[in-house]
Amino acid sequence: MDFLIFKAPMLMVQASLDGILLGILFALIAYGMALQWGVMNIINIAQGDLVILGGYIAYTIYLWGIHPAWGVIISPIIMFFVGWGLYKLVINKVVDRDLFISILATFGIAIVFQQLMNFIFGADVVVAQSEYGTTMLFDNSVTLPNSKIFSAFISVLYAFALVIYMKKSRLGRAIRATAQNARAAKILGVDTEKVYAATFGINAALCGIAGALISITLTLHPYVGLPYTVRSFMIVIVAGLGNLPAVAVSGMGLGLFEEFADYILGTEFRIGAVFLLLVLILVYRRFKLSKKREYLK
């Protein structure tokens, strides 16, 4: 059974495509995390729960008889205001404190969100149906759900839109200025309070899009947010802050790595392998840093 992947080359194609498509979706969530981490220096533990809430919004419109794909437009709009409100309510009180306080605060938000979603939507696992069908390649030996292709496409679309927005728009420039130096930005007349709120809102909106896509590709449950937080955290750690191409590459890389780890090491080590990779990367980074310091001395 071991190394089946080397006996059947088509599996390699399947695994690569699965990994990349899923990786792009994770990269979108990670991009939101990187953005607000970079701007506000907050590690948002509730990231995954915002994703799931976004998914439930898409699921709700699906229950109303609207196609769940509309969720990728409706969900970010609602989630933007959720993010904005969350900033005004909680985050603005912890934004200039140390990292530990913000982790605690967002951890608390995560728990409240989980319980609220459980209360409103119930503890059942739910799925929304896109009925997008399947693309078959290589004489039906590689199958790709169109919903996954759709979700990767939408993720890329939104990511590009955001990059352009950040470069061209007034708010985008203000966000970047605040990320570089909040005090200087303030002196030059940037309303950093507003920038922070908008950043948190944009992050929540990105989570909303990802959630809507997850509702049609995977499954939703009030308590499955944490794995998304952990994955996006890892992608950001690997890619660094404020570097979209690196986030995209690192997202896809992690997706690929996970799929191949599944085939080679076994499904039970799939997530373990990703964590091992994280540890190795952190050790390597430290090693590199320490070398640099010596050189500087």
Binding site: D18, N118, V127, T143, V224, L226, D262, Y263, T267
Partner: protein, 413 residues
């Protein structure tokens, strides 16, 4: 004088304390009520099944009380249950069990929802020698620890899908089959897996894929790609409702053709409702189905139970509710046979239980598990977009014929 006053206060409080503890230790039977206790998941991740469990308990309590209650030493008693919300948290459940026993003076317990929480409570009830009849903890490890006060009305987890392997072998002309399996890494699913391993050994079948899915995982694409490559005779999946929903979603999207697909938790996942036609032909293990022909005098038949339950709670009873109702019937029967409220007498009566309920026959094995009731398998069948679960095995209760092999995706509309 001051000293005397202090002494007096101490004396009074000592007496009050003694009185309180005295009354609470007799709280097991208050007036005409037999008080049972249960920690149950009303919030948290098990809350939907927790509520099914509670509804099942309440339904049986009402019915038994209405039909004359429990007769012990010529006097009629009624059931009453003290519930606490365990928040789906094992630690909390164990604390609450302790509180029920020590503070509320409960002497008879009903189980919580899920194997994990039952495992947390069982050591407590065992320590205080409190008989517990549970209806929602199926993990095999509950019945191998030598617990003396634990009784389960349901079949243990390792029996869930054994029948499916037997069925596959039967369809293969008695020869062993090739099995692909994917199980979540939790106590329950791993017990189901052990059952499959036993069945494979017994029938000379070969396990060609044996994936253990991490709990956080909600993507089975890699496992299914492997399944596509090696073409097994039967695919077995168990990972609670998430596993069932993920499997059907990805099997249909990736067009994975297998002759037979066996799963757990289809009804809890509302598989046929959420996935419709995509879930057709899936074979599901269940503890109970309303069409089974078991009978008792309280609920009549399964069908009647389902009708009454629907009327009272507004939805079709899942097996979690049915088995919970059965737990109360077992307690009533044991109290009447013991003809006493002595815990050990009740416990001994429970050991000798041998009865039929609308839910199935109940007789406890040496580990406390129910050995008199087989698991059943139903298959999802659809007419147009309308899908329902039909019992196909064991043959004694089968209302429909088992459809085998599953048609290829290219032939399905």
């Amino acid at each position: 004088m001051n000293k005397l006053a202090k002494l007096f206060v101490t004396f009074i409080s000592a007496i009050t304390l003694a009185l309180v503890s005295f009354t609470s230790s007799f709280a097991k039977v208050e007036g005409e009520y037999i008080v049972l206790g249960s920690a149950i998941s009303l919030t948290g991740k098990y809350s939907s099944n927790g509520v099914h469990t509670q509804n099942g308990y309440n339904m049986a309590v009402d019915r038994i009380n209405k039909m004359g209650g429990v007769e012990v030493q010529g006097k009629k008693y009624k059931f009453e249950i003290i519930y606490y919300d365990d928040e789906s948290n094992p630690k909390r459940a164990a604390q609450l069990a302790e509180r029920l026993i020590k503070q509320d003076g409960v002497h008879y317990m009903l189980g919580p929802y899920s194997s994990g929480l039952t495992k947390a409570i069982a050591p407590v009830t065992e320590k205080y020698k409190i008989p517990m009849v549970e209806a929602n903890g199926a993990s095999r490890s509950l019945f191998t620890k030598g617990y003396k006060y634990l009784f389960a009305v349901l079949s243990p987890a390792n029996q869930y899908l054994e029948v499916a392997i037997d069925l596959a072998v039967e369809k293969n002309g008695g020869k062993g089959v090739k099995i692909a399996q994917a199980f979540e890494q939790d106590a329950f699913s791993q017990d189901v897996r052990l059952g499959i391993l036993d069945a494979a050994k017994r029938t000379g079948s070969e396990i060609i894929i044996d994936d253990k899915l991490p709990k956080e995982l909600n993507d089975m694409a890699a496992t299914l790609a492997k399944v596509k490559a090696v073409k097994p005779d039967v695919l077995v999946v168990s990972g609670h409702t998430k596993g069932a929903l993920t499997a059907i979603r990805q099997i249909s999207e990736m067009k994975v053709d297998v002759p037979m697909l066996a799963m757990t938790h289809c009804d809890a996942a509302k598989l046929s409702k959420q996935h419709g036609k995509k879930s057709e032909f899936a074979l599901c293990a269940s503890q109970w189905h309303k069409n089974l022909s078991y009978k008792d005098k309280f609920f009549g038949s399964g069908k009647k139970y389902a009708k009454d339950f629907q009327k009272e709670f507004g939805y079709d009873p899942p097996y979690q509710s049915a088995e919970s109702s059965a737990a109360l019937l077992v307690f009533k029967d044991a109290f009447e046979r013991a003809n006493s409220f002595d815990r050990d007498a009740v416990r001994d009566a429970l050991v000798d239980t041998e009865m039929q309920t609308f839910y199935g026959n109940i007789k406890f094995g040496p580990g406390g598990q129910n050995v008199a009731k087989p698991m059943i398998l139903f298959q999802v069948r659809c007419k147009g977009d309308d899908c329902e679960n039909r019992v196909v095995a064991p043959t004694k209760w089968a209302s429909d014929k088992f459809y085998h092999p599953i048609p290829k995706w290219s032939e399905r509309s």
